[in-house]
Symmetry: C2
Subunit: 319 residues, 2 copies
């Protein structure tokens, strides 16, 4: 079975670990969000790609969900001693190596997809990890800061400001000119099922879908497309998805997110058991819906979620 | 008193610490060798400049004489895990910060002299540290390896091969087109004395002198130029200066190094007490010479050496 997964960072990475357990023989291609990529200290940092790679490759800091295990922060301390920031982005000594290798390869002319493949040669994540695009896409957030309307990098909004001010707009800068990375459209065309993990529907999955050709390829693939709600009981399971949903005019409920994707794209949708009341509304929107436990409390619970998603896909296929 | 010092790495840096103690009120300008600079992992590394900066700024690893105190090597471990080398160059996590800041500033268009000044803003070495040139100069060493004649970077010769094969030639690639960095010729013109510390006469002081204009400025400054022999009892005090002296056809003795600089450049020369027999030969070459203890065993001994050098300079001036 060939499965394509559109993944953001922590939520996507953890779901993928469950999916690998649930479908050990599946051929899994992950299309990773690169809209949260950022240049720091002259280095190209790809937080979502790295979170997937480290999580599936066994190098993740399990407690925080991002960054490396057994990490130290001496380099960052020294940068701060030089007065070189930003200090709000937590790059550890081990993590820096990834960004240095990536930056050096990009500088030598390799596209991000080739660089990602080279990095994965070490980590062996057990999936094929593709950036959504080799072209630069950078998610910016329009906010009002100190009485002034400004567009800031998503990481500044998310990490520095912790989404503490309202996002007035979310713009994946460069997306309209970006091309899907080599292999992305091919993987979608050959997929047996496409899954949207409980990732942020705006700044993770939404950014991937903003690359021209990807949404269309998924909608026209003729295979089940099934998603899992990142909203449980009207609140994000983790992260601050509600802040960015408001910016695109979507209420923070499991049903509203399904409607936001829409029946033209989504065939099936899983909501958490506490949101069982949403099933009727989602199905009324033309999307097959089931209520099951959606908390990724451990690997087994996550694998069960993945099995439910695959079961719903089979149900869609048989319908 | 304005003192100009031409410095390489460890020997130059340790001598400077003694000089600062010997002449606390002096205005010291250090012209640093950049011929051993190397690009590693896409970063610009300036080993000699950093050794001076860290040593005088209190950040040096005292035991090894280069690199940072309280250092860790996690980033380097990770680069090795990615299969990215070279592994023979020991960059620590704290040290990496210096190279990242430097590379970022160079990429933004600042010349190396401005970058060095910015780095020194943090370290406050108590001297004005100038790179010999803002232009790229890279010392290459011609060697025979595996039956083939090759030119390799000085660091590869020095650090990886530990000078274990004969150096057939030493070439400061790019030196002939390099211009002295801003402030270098001015500092020499305004100096009251110029000192050559017990640094490597070929790949440290010699490389600085290879930048067109610097040798002439020193020779024509009309002030005492005094050096300290890095060779004691026919062997280098530290390092492997004998290996590179052979490449330029100079025997590894205190007298031969003085003659290599020549009386057109050098007015005074200090040899170690064990080399007292060399005094006559050096003076016969037209260079005033004294035999004094030249082992930098501790700060006080080093300060005494600096005082002897300054005293010899005064003797030259009064002659």
């Amino acid at each position: 079975m060939r499965i394509v997964v559109l993944a953001g960072g922590i939520g996507g990475a953890r779901f993928l670990r469950g999916l690998k357990q649930a479908a050990p023989d599946a051929d899994i291609t992950v299309i990773g969000n690169t809209g949260d990529d950022i240049h720091l200290f002259g280095l190209k940092v790809c937080p979502d790609l790295d979170t997937v790679m480290y999580t599936l490759g066994g190098g993740i800091n399990e407690e925080q969900g991002w960054g490396r295990a057994d990490e130290t922060f001496h380099l960052k301390e020294e940068l701060a001693a030089y007065g070189v920031g930003p200090e709000w982005f937590g790059l550890g000594d081990r993590d820096f190596a990834t960004h240095i290798v990536r930056t050096q390869m990009l500088g030598a002319g390799y596209p991000l997809s080739a660089v990602t493949e080279a990095l994965c040669d070490r980590w062996k994540p057990g999936v094929r990890l593709l950036p959504m695009s080799d072209d630069r896409v950078e998610t910016h957030v329009a906010v009002e800061l100190d009485g002034e309307r400004r567009a800031i990098h998503f990481q500044e909004y998310w990490v520095r400001l912790r989404a503490s001010v309202p996002a007035e707009a979310i713009v994946p800068v460069g997306a309209e000119l970006a091309k899907p990375a080599p292999g992305v459209l091919e993987a979608i065309a050959e997929a047996d099922v496409v899954l949207f993990p409980p990732s942020n529907p705006v700044v993770s999955v939404g950014t991937i879908l903003a690359v021209p050709g990807i949404r269309e390829a998924i909608a026209n693939a003729g295979v089940p497309v099934v998603g899992l709600s990142p909203i449980v009981g009207d609140a994000p399971v983790r992260g601050m998805a509600d802040k960015v949903l408001a910016a695109v005019g979507v209420e923070s409920t499991a049903a509203a997110v399904a409607e936001h994707y829409g029946s033209g794209l989504l065939d099936g949708w899983l909501v958490d058991s506490v949101d069982a009341a949403a099933v009727e509304r989602v199905e009324a929107a033309g999307i097959r819906c089931r209520a099951v436990p959606l908390m990724m409390t451990d690997l087994e619970a996550t694998a069960r979620m993945a099995r439910e998603a695959l079961a719903l896909a089979e149900e869609v296929r048989g319908a």
